[in-house]
């Protein structure tokens, strides 16, 4: 268990990290960034698994089951949409490369 001042330290340091990590992101990446941070809080699925893993009654299991279901959807969906978006970001150089790789095709 993480308690007392250690808990507060973690909270504050993590908050600073979150603030710093994002402060230099260009506008063009705001949508993928929101999507990526949406994916990262999909870690809630792990918490849901832990909660369900110690459930002993049927109502607890049902609620825990729903938590894992929602958490898994958050994580998997968040990953898939973010990856799809980032896949499309190409520079002019990348386009020429992929065109050359296709033998000067219609890329």
């Amino acid at each position: 268990m993480i308690t007392g001042f250690a808990a507060i330290y973690i909270f504050i340091l993590a908050a600073f990290v979150g603030y710093e990590v994002i402060s230099r992101v260009p506008v063009i990446l705001h949508t993928p960034l929101m999507s990526c941070s949406n994916f990262v809080h999909g870690i809630v699925v792990v918490g849901a698994m832990i909660a369900l893993g110690s459930a002993t009654t049927t109502p607890e299991r049902i609620v825990g089951f729903l938590a894992v279901l929602l958490g898994a959807a958050n994580a998997v969906g968040g990953y898939a949409v973010t990856e799809r978006m980032l896949d499309m970001f190409k520079s002019s150089g990348d386009q020429k490369k992929s065109a050359a790789a296709k033998g000067g095709g219609d890329a």
């Binding site: 979150g18 993928p32 699925v45 893993g53 089951f65 938590a67 894992v68």
Partner: protein, 460 residues
């Protein structure tokens, strides 16, 4: 030993998440970033199965498979234009999961330390609001809910509902014994009902234009809720990932609100995004029309052309034609740049995604600060499906959009505005650009007009 290994895996996951988010600061490394974060998630989920004294593996696996499969299929199928509501719904699910974790913990027999009960119930409150709020945001963006619900005294009623949720939360946290049979169970249920209700009431009055800010806010709130549940479960990965997202999401929400010239408080309590039809007096002159052929001639003999795409372009599915036009002009030796307003599209950065989908390389795309100085040197600017973000009225005091940063299209030698009809923009404000002497209106469907422009340029 086993516990240590599990903890090390969680730490590794947290580090990978932070590195992943860090890689989002450049388009070159962003793809790598999401993969790192994905690896972190996979490691954390797999190691969790090894937790000592775990039960209910069948339930767990079934839930993971069903939830993951549905989300995966939906995510692969969704159109890029519908990305904002997709983010909203996945985010809401995360919030819902956090709220349900708290429910399981409160339902378990026996007590927990009061500090954990308080953190747990705060997480449950935030998670519930994020869940129901995100679902309403999804329904609005998807067009399931079309109206904005505004009534007198709304803010007071919302405040009372929130107060009720907080009171119930305090009772749940302080009275917690884990015995769900009697009044304690009822209080817990009542708490969730009221908390969910608050999320609905809070989101209903907010108009479509402000929705990105709201989604971003709920994203931050879900992160916070996840972090709080992490404390309850004693799980470092949840705490760090949740709080990092909470802080990052808060900053992102501020950046978005700033780009839209709105304060977060304004978005949440004013309902401006919902009102329409404000008239701006004093727009003078007439709109001057031009045919696509005439416009094409001007473009073909230009040296520098700036294209300003708005969400209307994406609605008309014109981005592929527009990119074709840009390539055609580039081949003639014309310098072509795309200018993107921070709120173009349905959320900040959305237009970049839509252009990327059409194949436009990101180094041809410029944001407001980079491009605004270049409009006076551009021979022509083409506005496609954008309106309020190019309205010079934003520079005039007294205008409802005064102070909103705009693209200085009116400073280009010649501006062409491709527009379906004569109506006002999303904010319902007349656009002074359309009446300017150097502006020509090209009416028609964006895809159609772009096709005609291509044909016109080829003829020259």
């Amino acid at each position: 030993m086993r516990n240590d290994l599990i903890q090390i895996a969680y730490v590794a996951a947290a580090v990978l998440f932070i590195l992943g988010l860090k890689s989002m600061s450049s388009p070159r490394t962003a793809r790598r970033g999401i993969i790192w974060a994905g690896v972190g998630m996979a490691v954390a989920v797999v190691i969790t199965f090894a937790t000592p004294e775990m039960r209910n593996f069948v339930w767990m696996t079934v839930a993971l498979v069903i939830g993951g499969a549905i989300a995966y299929v939906a995510a692969r199928r969704v159109a890029m234009t519908d990305m904002p509501q997709m983010v909203a719904i996945y985010n809401g699910m995360g919030g819902g999961a956090a709220a349900l974790i708290a429910a399981v913990e409160f339902m378990k027999p026996g007590t927990m330390p009061t500090s954990f009960a308080i953190l747990g119930i705060i997480g449950a409150l935030i998670g519930s609001v994020s869940f129901s709020g995100s679902m309403i945001a999804f329904a609005k963006l998807q067009g399931i809910i079309k109206k904005s619900f505004l009534f007198p005294g709304q803010n007071v009623i919302n405040l009372l509902v929130l107060a009720a949720a907080v009171v119930l939360a305090v009772i749940v946290a302080l009275q917690h014994t884990g015995n769900m049979g009697g009044s304690e169970g009822l209080t817990l249920v009542a708490f969730y009902v009221v908390a969910l209700l608050y999320g609905v009431l809070m989101t209903l009055p907010i108009g479509g234009a402000d929705m990105p800010v709201v989604i971003s806010l709920y994203n931050a709130l879900t992160g916070l809720a996840v972090g709080f549940e992490g404390y309850v479960l004693g799980n470092g990965a949840l705490i760090i990932a949740g709080i990092v997202v909470g802080a990052a999401g808060t900053l992102l929400t501020q950046l978005m609100a700033k780009a839209m010239n709105r304060s977060i408080a304004n978005v949440l309590f004013a309902g401006f995004g919902a009102t329409a039809g404000q008239e701006l007096a004093g727009v003078e002159g007439t709109m001057k029309e031009s045919t696509p052929d005439d416009a094409a001639v001007t473009l073909a003999f230009a040296q520098k052309v700036i294209i300003v795409p708005g969400y209307g372009m994406a609605v008309a599915q014109a981005q592929h034609k527009v990119w074709e036009l840009a390539k055609l002009l580039t081949d003639r030796g014309i310098q072509v740049k795309f200018a993107i307003h921070p709120v173009a599209g349905r959320m900040p950065g959305h237009m970049n995604v839509l252009l990327a989908e059409a194949g436009v390389p990101y180094d041809m795309i410029y944001d407001l600060d980079e491009i605004n100085g270049e409009f006076p040197t551009a021979d022509a600017a083409i506005v496609i499906g954008a309106n309020d973000v190019v309205n010079p009225a934003a520079r005039e005091k007294g205008s409802p959009i005064y102070g909103m940063p705009i693209l200085d299209v009116d400073k280009a030698q010649q501006a062409f505005v491709i527009k379906r009809g004569r109506g006002a923009g999303f904010a319902g404000i007349e656009n002074a650009l359309f009446y300017a002497d150097n502006t020509r209106m090209v009416y028609g469907d964006a895809q159609d007009v772009a096709g005609k422009l291509i044909a016109g340029v080829k003829k020259v």
